[in-house]
């Protein structure tokens, strides 16, 4: 669509600008401010330059939690994206069954995150949960509060349960937008199922897949509530991800300078990786 140049449009954007500036710029400036000072009390702040940043970057607890975070986000993307595409391909395309499927798929997305944690906390317990009890009956020594491996598996499974429907719904809407004529042409050419997927469906899914990958990366990288409720970050600190480390530091220990430096590094990593994904995918697009 060709747009008209009109600077008066700023008036229409102004409310959004003020609102987001209030809830994003002021807090962000506060964080920057804290990150370069050592604060003992009101009026007793000293400029310390990059000291907090240097300390935080050398902090082993933070490095461990960053490593876990990347591992978790990578696992989330590797499982959920292919699975979501697969489910979208299996879904009925029209009629009542299609809308029932859509509603069922949307349910996990609308459950408050702490309740998602609660659901799996109950579901996974060996004594009162169907899942944990079932595994124990089958002879597995499953206990997500005691074994690191089980805790990881449960957190991952919970996230797959919670968010794969989002990927599936995105892909489903992408698939629905493919004109029928494309499939008819493929039929005339006697294209195989795989060829249809590879050369018709997948290219058409690209725009929704960009959204899916970005959303899933960002949200898995910020995960807090679900593992907090499910495992509390344990056993030990094996399922403590970045947001929880930061929250403990900022609210629990009130270690403001360090938490602020941490916050900025955290935000920059999310921005950087999102940007990398975005340019990588759009670059691939141009090569073709």
């Amino acid at each position: 669509m060709n747009k008209v140049s009109n600077n008066k449009a700023w008036w229409l954007v102004l409310p959004v600008f003020i609102l987001v500036a209030f809830s994003a710029l002021i807090p962000l400036m506060t964080v920057v401010n804290y990150s370069v000072q050592d604060i003992f009390g009101p009026g007793q702040a000293y400029f310390v330059g990059t000291e907090w940043f240097e300390e935080i970057l050398g902090d082993e607890r933070l490095q461990d939690s960053l490593g876990r975070q990347f591992l978790f986000s990578a696992a989330v993307l590797l499982i959920q994206i292919p699975l979501g595409i697969g489910i979208a391909l299996m879904m009925p395309t029209r009629g009542k069954r299609a809308s029932v499927c859509l509603i069922m798929l949307a349910i996990p997305l609308l459950i408050p995150w702490n309740v998602v944690g609660t659901i799996w906390q109950i579901f996974g317990r060996g004594d009162i949960g169907l899942f944990g009890w079932g595994l124990n009956q089958l002879g597995f020594d499953y206990n997500y509060t005691a074994n690191t491996g089980d805790a990881w598996a449960t957190v991952l499974l919970m996230d797959v349960w919670h968010w794969t429907p989002l990927v599936a719904l995105l892909c489903y809407s992408g698939l629905k937008a493919i004109p029928e004529a494309f499939y008819q042409a493929a039929e005339i050419d006697r294209a195989s199922k795989w060829a249809i997927f590879r050369y018709i469906q997948l290219p058409r899914l690209k725009s929704v897949l960009v959204i899916a990958v970005l959303l899933r990366f960002m949200d898995s990288f910020m995960i807090y509530t679900e593992p907090f409720v499910l495992t509390g970050g344990g056993p030990g600190s094996s399922t403590t991800f970045l947001s929880q480390t930061l929250t403990t530091m900022a609210i629990g220990q009130f270690d403001i300078g360090r938490a602020a430096a941490f916050s900025l590094i955290y935000f920059l990593i999310v921005l950087l990786v999102s940007w990398l994904f975005f340019t990588a995918i759009t670059h691939l697009d141009k090569q073709k």
């Binding site: 600077n7 809830s23 009925p92």
Partner: protein
């Protein structure tokens, strides 16, 4: 035909797996604590509504739902009010700094809420809004407004510009055109944006919990608080969980015909 059967089997199996944890929560919510802790049963033998009765009669429980509802509705209204004109501007006009502004808005969706925890707490405390519904509603605008602008921009760009020009020739003023003609035309887009704003505000806990203490405490915070105490009341906790799913179901029912386009954010 054979292919279709396999597909049907696959999707049915997936939906059953998807519903299994929810079924278990529902099952637990109708049991007494003796039955829950005594023996694993696939359906409640000793069917009881006592867990739900506890929630509906105890103000410390049901006020949580009311608080959550209040700030979520406030957030949806604020989000739509500011996002609609902005989305229109982004879709129809070029103006100084438009692209930068758009990307800056979207970058706020990428900010981890944990980063804003401490400054939000201090900001809202210093202006006397701590522990109010509006504080949570405003804080949630941080990620809901950018998303709503993005979704609405997609839907608005799908409406041909000739409509705007025709209304102008017919003598409509801009506000009148916007309210009388334009908003009805993109109502499915507004529904979808409202759905997403509702969804992300309803499910968020970290900010909502940090910005409230008593008067505006969300249901999620009440649920996690009872969790720390010794001897968890599993029955009541399950019932509380089931009740948090219902508003979502209601909203999804309203937008059921637009889910497919909605999840593509109006851009396929």
């Amino acid at each position: 035909m054979k292919m279709n059967k396999r597909k049907n089997f696959g999707i049915t199996a997936y939906i059953i797996l998807l519903m299994l944890p929810i079924y278990w929560l529902l099952n637990m919510s109708f049991k007494t604590n003796q039955e829950i802790l005594g023996q694993l049963t696939l359906f409640p033998h000793d069917f009881t509504l006592a867990n739900y009765a506890t929630i509906f009669t105890d103000p410390s429980w049901y006020s949580g739902y009311i608080n959550s509802m209040i700030y979520v509705s406030m957030n949806v209204v604020i989000t739509l009010l500011v996002a609609l004109p902005a989305a229109y501007a982004f879709s129809r006009y070029k103006f100084v700094g438009d692209k930068h502004l758009f990307f800056w808005l979207l970058s706020n969706r990428m900010a981890p809420p944990a980063v804003f925890l401490l400054p939000f707490f201090q900001l809202y405390s210093s202006i006397g809004l701590f522990d109010t519904h509006i504080a949570v509603a405003l804080a949630h605008c941080l990620f809901n407004v950018p998303l709503a602008v993005w979704i609405l921009e997609g839907f608005i760009s799908g409406v041909p510009k000739e409509y705007d020009e025709m209304a102008y020739i017919d003598g409509y003023s801009f506000p009148k055109f916007f309210v009388k003609i334009f908003i009805p035309m993109i109502r499915s887009g507004i529904g979808v944006a409202a759905f997403f704003a509702f969804m992300f505000s309803w499910v968020e806990l970290l900010l909502a919990r940090t910005l409230t203490s008593v008067d505006a405490q969300p249901i999620g915070a009440i649920m996690t608080r009872t969790m720390g105490a010794s001897g968890i009341d599993w029955g009541v906790l399950s019932a509380a969980g089931v009740l948090t799913i219902l508003p979502g179901l209601l909203v999804v029912w309203f937008v059921r015909n637009h889910i497919a386009t909605g999840f593509a954010l109006g851009r396929v």
